[in-house]
Amino acid sequence: MPDWIIRGARLLGANPTDLFIVGGELVDSAPIGAQVLDADGLIALPGLVDLHTHLREPGREDAETVETGTLAAALGGFTAVHAMANTEPVADVAGVVEQVWRLGVEAGHCDVHPVGAVTVGLRGEQLAELGAMADSAARVRVFSDDGHCVHDPLLMRRALEYVKAFDGVVAQHAQDPRLTEGAQMNEGAQSARLGLAGWPAVAEEAVIARDCLLAAHVGSRVHFCHVSTAGSVEIVRWAKRKGWNVTAEVTPHHLLLSDDVVASYDPVFKVNPPLRSSEDVEALRDALADGTIDAVATDHAPHALEDKETEWAAAAFGMTGLETALSVVAAAMVETGRLDWSGVADRMSVRPARIGRLTAQGQPLLPGAPANLVLVDPSARVVVDPSTSASRSRNTPYAGRELPARVVATFLRGRPTVLDGKPA
């Protein structure tokens, strides 16, 4: 494996400096005979960490595989992703999480950390063998029934308590099932006009409030997936002020898009939780800026074309996001002056790595640290073209949209996975 000299990169957006990579680690002096990468004008960030990715393997390899999904991740600047458990079969036993983890190692595009299901079959009835998944080769620390809410309060309490034994965290998909029966889009002016069954904000907020109280009661930490409403932000802010161990993520699409795009009835905009009002978008941006929301997580949810080219109600929920996440955050947060590049690194690498207990990711780019990093051209503008995506699916909501910033190179433990914006 060659050594590298990265010349003139602006570390977290600061003044240009040289980075030296030897044997997969950052070092403090220039190695001899190294490859040189001219990073003039590029910003260096620690490799991005996604807390929320659907890689679809095993089960829906027509929509995505670990190979294609992690390549998309690398192209988006990620060096680690958490693979959600709603595969077929469900990742609710050690065997499945180990399979996904091994597929990640074999693909080699980025680290794959499987998320374990909280309950058997995501059915919300009985705890899965969380300890076995934690002790497996996959070393699972994040547990989630994502796609389903752990709705039973007693079961949620037990899960929150149980994972303390191995410093795990439950990542809750907050959605009251009764309040969202048949729900299709955010409940408000748009749903009233479009005649689509409403998905009220309270269905998310009530569960978040309950779980903050539960986590505080049993002294556990809890993480909230894809918070989408101004009310959720207020509750998380309140819980953090209390000193409770609560973290939250927001998706790029909830930072950029509001529910007025649903007027096209194009299911590419159908997602769970639904796109919300522009007031919610503003509140989410503010919360990510002030740290109430800890992390950006993609909720990359690839779907086969036939599951999206339908009438709205019949379509699957979800949108792809790995390759566009950094650009969307640049548009929503950097260009609006809400976050600088150091803030982006914090919300897209440092804090998600900490929540997932990944010690080799999200580290400052200093000598001795693993060389997981991404080089970004902040002045580039790219028009999103779904046909060029490395993902096996095409359901991006940004097709044809021009977005700022471009990932030029990604390094995973000193080895380039992406160079010149292409797979290395």
């Binding site: 409940e187 408000g188 009233a192 006009r193 005649g195 194009d266 009438e311």
Partner: protein, 328 residues
């Protein structure tokens, strides 16, 4: 007379897509076409050689028949494509159905679908005009047009008419289309329902909202009763059908509180004894049978304008020519 400069959109997907001029053009054209229907030869040659597909994913004999009669009176070829018993029930997608119709050369597709927005999707996949004949809980624009036509016919105007739309507004495509169209045409609309059957966000609609039918009726020129679907009766939206009927049903006692000239409308099919009492449905105020007849004229006008692009004064001429040709 509406000027030929008035244009309609390519598709009729929402009553909200119609300008005031566009809506009036449809109503004026319908009036002209209704006159033709009184002649011995009811058929016009206007759409000869054009193909109209009735694409019905939901059963609706009355709406389908209405469109079919309308298209045939304009001499169009009509294909009835019912989802029941077709490839649709074998899992063919909406898109594949659209591509099939496109390949068959459909000039207009009249679409009824259980999912809100399905006609919008269809419009992306075919070149012909799409007419929304009712989509999920979204809209039913030709119903609103025939309702407006009926009001104008009976009461001589639409502007400043006080219209109460009563019942399951939440799930009603008839209510949505009527609120949009009638407000465009200058009526004062009030939707009346138990709060559980009003959508969150109704406050953004161009209408007033009331929970009190008895308070609204004396100030209404038109009262439009909406059908209560069976599944709502058991969906927990109201305690019992009897309580619904007591609070929101239109019976003879309530009808007596209406102003003298006020009319009672219902899009059908009715639940007699639930939202409307039999003696109300059959009273002289009721326009329910007229609505059905007017539906044909209005749908003729919609197909005529979307496909033919001609204007009311041309209809008379064309009818005259056609009648002459037939005699010869």
């Amino acid at each position: 007379m509406t000027t030929p400069a008035t244009t309609l959109p390519q598709h009729l997907l929402s009553a909200g897509d119609l300008s005031r001029e566009g809506a009036l053009l449809i109503l004026d054209t319908a009036e002209e076409l209704a006159r033709v229907a009184d002649r011995p030869i009811k058929k016009l040659p206007t759409l000869r050689g054009r193909t109209v597909v009735n694409l019905f994913f939901e059963d609706s004999t009355r709406t389908r028949t209405s469109f079919e009669v309308a298209a045939k009176r304009l001499s169009a070829d009509v294909i009835n494509f019912s989802a029941k018993g077709s490839s649709v029930s074998k899992g063919e997608s909406l898109k594949d159905t659209a591509l099939t119709l496109e390949a068959m050369g459909a000039d207009a597709v009249v679409c009824r679908h259980g999912a809100s927005g399905a006609p919008h999707r269809l419009a992306n996949w075919i070149r012909g005009s799409v007419v929304n004949a009712g989509d999920g809980t979204h809209e039913h624009p030709t119903q609103a047009l025939l309702d407006a036509y009926t009001m104008r016919n009976r009461l001589g105007r639409i502007e400043q008419l006080r219209v109460a739309i009563v019942g399951d507004v939440l799930h009603s495509r008839v209510a949505r289309s009527n609120v949009l169209l009638l407000s465009t045409l200058g009526a004062e609309v009030t939707v009346v329902a138990p709060p559980t059957l009003l959508p969150v966000g109704v406050e953004h609609w161009p209408c007033a909202v009331s929970y009190d039918l008895d308070g609204v009726l004396p100030k209404s020129d038109v009262v439009m009763m909406l059908r209560v679907q069976r599944e709502r009766m058991y969906g927990g939206f109201f305690p019992t059908t009897r309580e619904y009927s007591r609070r929101y049903g239109l019976d003879a006692r309530r009808m007596a509180t209406l102003p003298d000239d006020a009319i009672v409308m219902h899009p059908g099919p009715m639940n007699r004894g639930v939202e409307i009492a039999a003696e109300v449905a059959d009273s002289v105020r009721s326009t329910i049978v007229e609505q059905v007849a007017n539906g044909v004229s209005v749908r003729m006008a919609v197909l005529y304008l979307l496909l033919g692009g001609a204007y009311p004064d041309e209809i008379a001429r064309s009818a005259h020519d056609f009648a002459g040709a037939s005699v010869a």
